[in-house]
């Protein structure tokens, strides 16, 4: 079972993330698989260890999904952490991927959420194509 991302698919993802950064005024956006691997990122992430952030994001989502189950929910589809200057917004994109948006006080939570909702459907379609191939391989190894 392997996940293969072609150049064409990555270009489409990059375009979505670029649109997300420019319209939400967030400083960076990352797309991370639920197993902890980074798929793509856009914006200013030079000072961040994106591999560690990806691993911790997947763990964070996994841990809160267990909390959700204790409360009778399937999972929490969005998480928000507010810091003194930096904020992180995690949102599920379909069942395989998490989008992480990093933003500061140059923008607002409301605008970030609005833009995420706008790109969510487009990203979901691209992601389901990528992971759909994986499912096809599982069926026809």
């Amino acid at each position: 079972m392997n996940v293969v991302i072609t150049k064409k698919e990555l270009d489409k993802i990059d375009l979505c993330l670029e649109k997300m950064v420019s319209t939400s005024l967030a400083h960076s956006v990352l797309l991370i698989a639920r197993s902890g691997q980074l798929i793509a990122n856009h914006g200013d992430t030079l000072d961040i260890d994106v591999s560690a952030l990806s691993a911790l994001t997947a763990a964070n989502f996994g841990a809160t999904a267990e909390i959700a189950k204790l409360l009778g929910e399937e999972e929490f589809t969005l998480l928000f952490h507010k810091g003194r200057t930096e904020n992180v917004y995690f949102s599920a994109i379909g069942e395989h991927v998490i989008m992480v948006t990093l933003f500061d006080d140059k923008t607002s939570l409301g605008l970030v959420r609005l833009r995420i909702n706008q790109v969510n459907e487009e990203l979901s379609q691209i992601i389901s194509t990528i992971f759909g191939k994986e499912q096809a391989e599982v069926r026809h190894p």
């Binding site: 392997n2 639920r34 197993s35 902890g36 691993a55 997947a58």
Partner: protein, 207 residues
């Protein structure tokens, strides 16, 4: 589940260090982190308790260089070894491409090694993965205790207990002193890359 990015010519793989509590999984990662050049490794992240026991996992990413034109990035994880953290172990195993099973050579840990290996097989099976087919390497840790007051198990007995059916590569080691740590990492990386390469070829044939 390796991530193969044909745009960046990059492959990301996930390797999990598994084993009973206090067998030395975190010590393996700490040795690798402390003895690898900054340019090829990322930050080591540990989520542990105040008693230094792993609560969730340790994480370390490494760049292994190019193989067949692809940049190979491996992500090393450990799991918490304590029996009651099984849900956490299952979370960490999500998307695993290869496993290092760290066995504790101490005689008193014999039963726990076997239980942990059975637990690994069960948790992999729940994800549709067979312990017999996933790239797997066993490390017999704490061999430096040989000749001290601590009673340790002979390698032959450890092999019989843990590897008589699997017949996977195994290494004696001392994570604390670094013995066998790189040999184990090199072998599991080789097996995982070989497995991924096979999948890439299969993928190209399917296209």
């Amino acid at each position: 589940m390796p991530f193969i990015n044909f745009s960046k010519d990059e492959i990301q793989c996930k390797i999990v260090y598994y084993g009973a509590g206090f067998c030395g999984k975190t010590t393996n990662l700490q040795y690798i982190f402390g003895n690898t050049r900054d340019e090829i490794r990322g930050k080591m992240v540990s989520i542990d308790t105040k008693g230094d026991r792993t609560l969730f996992f340790d994480f370390l990413s490494l760049n292994l260089g190019k193989i067949r034109g692809f940049d190979i990035r491996v992500q090393l994880y450990t799991v918490p070894g304590q029996v009651h953290y099984d849900a956490t172990r299952k979370l960490v195993l999500k998307g695993v491409d290869g496993v290092v099973f760290v066995a504790d050579s101490l005689k008193v840990q014999r039963k726990k090694n076997i239980e942990s290996l059975i637990n690994l097989a069960k948790n992999l099976a729940e994800k549709g993965i067979s312990i017999r087919t996933i790239p797997l390497v066993i490390q017999y840790n704490k061999r430096d205790l040989d000749g001290t007051d601590s009673e340790i198990l002979p390698l032959e007995l450890l092999e019989k207990d843990l590897n008589s059916m699997l017949k996977v590569p195994s290494f004696p080691g001392s994570a604390l002193k670094g013995k066998g740590v790189y040999e184990t990492l090199r072998e599991i990386s080789k097996l995982v890359v070989k497995d991924v390469s096979r999948k890439i070829l299969l993928d190209k044939q399917l296209r």
